[in-house]
Amino acid sequence: MLFPTLTFGLFFLILYAVAWAVRASNEWRKILLLLASWVFYGAWDWRFVALLIGSAILNWGTARLIARAEEPAVRKALVVAGVAANLLILGFFKYFDFFVEQAGLVLAAAGWERDLPLFQIILPVGVSFFTFQGISYVVDVHRGRVPAAGLLDITLLMSFFPHLVAGPIVRASDLLPQFERTPRLTRGMAAMGLLLILWGLFKKAVVASELSVGLVDPVFFDPSAHGRLDLIAAAYGYAVQIYCDFSAYSDMAIGIAALLGYRFPHNFNQPYRAVSLQDFWRRWHISLSSWLRDYLYIPLGGSRGGTLYICRNLMITMLLGGLWHGAKWTFLIWGGLHGLVLSLERLWRDATPESWPTLPRPIGILITFHIVTLGWIFFRADSLDTALTYFGGLGRLDPAMVTVTPLAVALILFGLAIHFTPRHLIQGIAFQVRRIPAPLIGLGVGATILLIDAMRFEGVAPFIYYQF
């Protein structure tokens, strides 16, 4: 079930009405939200629901045992076992076939050609998100940051449909306290929720879909058939598409949760206005980058120690961050590129005196954006060969036909321009919206959805981050 579809719209209308109708009992309300989340997730494949429930029980049980254990060694063993079990789930579904394939290649190169068993495993939607959520929960219980919660709350935390398949990675410390009491819906929350849903709908259904179908997909499908102009436009186009696609999901998830009375954290903050790659990672997929910082980078040693030690930690974190997206060499290279540039930034900062002038802001933004866009080519390419063909084509001077259209160029420029609007533009609008009578807001919401529907591409493709 995809957010920008009529099926989801009807699902949400019914859920909204029933969830608020039963608000007298918070426990029943949570049970209802849990069942609705399973219906939402089961629309892909009912077998995945069993995995989700199993994963929730695993994390609930581990956290309970950690909370009861008094010996530090036992607590540590339990948290290690809990993290390992989550990684095992993730590893089996996401990486098993990849590593078997690579092992087969290594054996073949060594003259030991063998037919290794490939399971052709179906990847459960959102498995990377809910396993990371499970890991952070057991680690936080071990660290004493959150108390071990009840089974209903943990299952709902991991299953709650707005964030289930593509984040934000909402941590237990963010959501569990909200589950303890019946939520309240204020006008401001609702105004922000409605605005975020509309803004997300526009970014996904109009900008991302149009760029995907009209430019990016055909060019990346066969880069050798396109000239330099198309390749450059598709690279910029993908930078805008992935931002509009992924941030749209986050915006809609935050908005939908808000209309049900829950608050999700920020996930994007105008990432293409970042002045450095470090700044970029404070603005892009904030819930993942802060997760990697808290549960990987800092445990590895973080910024304590010498420059080379820090660079090593950055490289490991970004390589694993790349691998989190999928079992492909292109994701590893993408992560490696980010790790390398982050390390170079660190080396530069440590090697230069503070009195040296820093790069002018616009130049920093321009350089960072182009490094990120370069990385997106690896990220988007189906294989390493496709990525290399793409880069080869960028140097080609043949006057091939042009796929890029004026509309695509306009959408690319729009997608970049929105990064330079005031930081709190939507909140500022929400301040005004909450003061307007509800029937007028309803007409405005309806008219905006009608406008978006008239502009959107026929049908809606799944969100890019569903595959992760």
Binding site: T5, R187, G188, G193, H266, L407, A438, G442, A454
Partner: protein, 120 residues
């Protein structure tokens, strides 16, 4: 303190949906429910075409067939009144924008990837 100043102060708050001073607003649920109901009614009246297209894509069966007949009838009714005209007008303009090309010669692009998984 101005709205913008309050927002700057709230920058580090938990969620983007938390607006400073929002605790004072009353009747949020009623306000939201009316807005959603009016919005849904507006779309039911003005976007019959999309509802009909959605119904046609449902898995075949007696219920789906009855629904398709009902949505097709609803399209005919709203067409007669002219309620579908605004959407059709915007859609036609958008299609015109999509058809614009830098190169006047028709582009022979490589085969487009399969988009059959798209949902309405």
């Amino acid at each position: 303190m101005t709205d913008q100043q309050q927002l700057m102060q709230a920058d580090e708050m938990l969620s983007p949906v938390d607006l400073p001073g929002d605790e004072e607003t009353e009747g949020g649920l009623r306000w939201t429910s009316i807005a959603i109901a009016v919005g849904a009614l507006f779309l039911l009246l003005s976007n019959a075409v999309t509802i009909d297209e959605w119904a046609k894509e449902l898995p075949p069966g007696p219920a789906a067939e009855r629904l398709t007949q009902a949505t097709a009838g609803w399209v005919a009714v709203t067409d007669r009144i002219g309620l579908n005209a605004p959407r059709a007008l915007v859609h036609a303009q958008w299609k015109r924008g999509q058809a614009l090309r830098f190169d006047p010669a028709p582009a022979a692009t490589s085969p487009a990837p399969d988009t059959s998984s798209r949902l309405r």
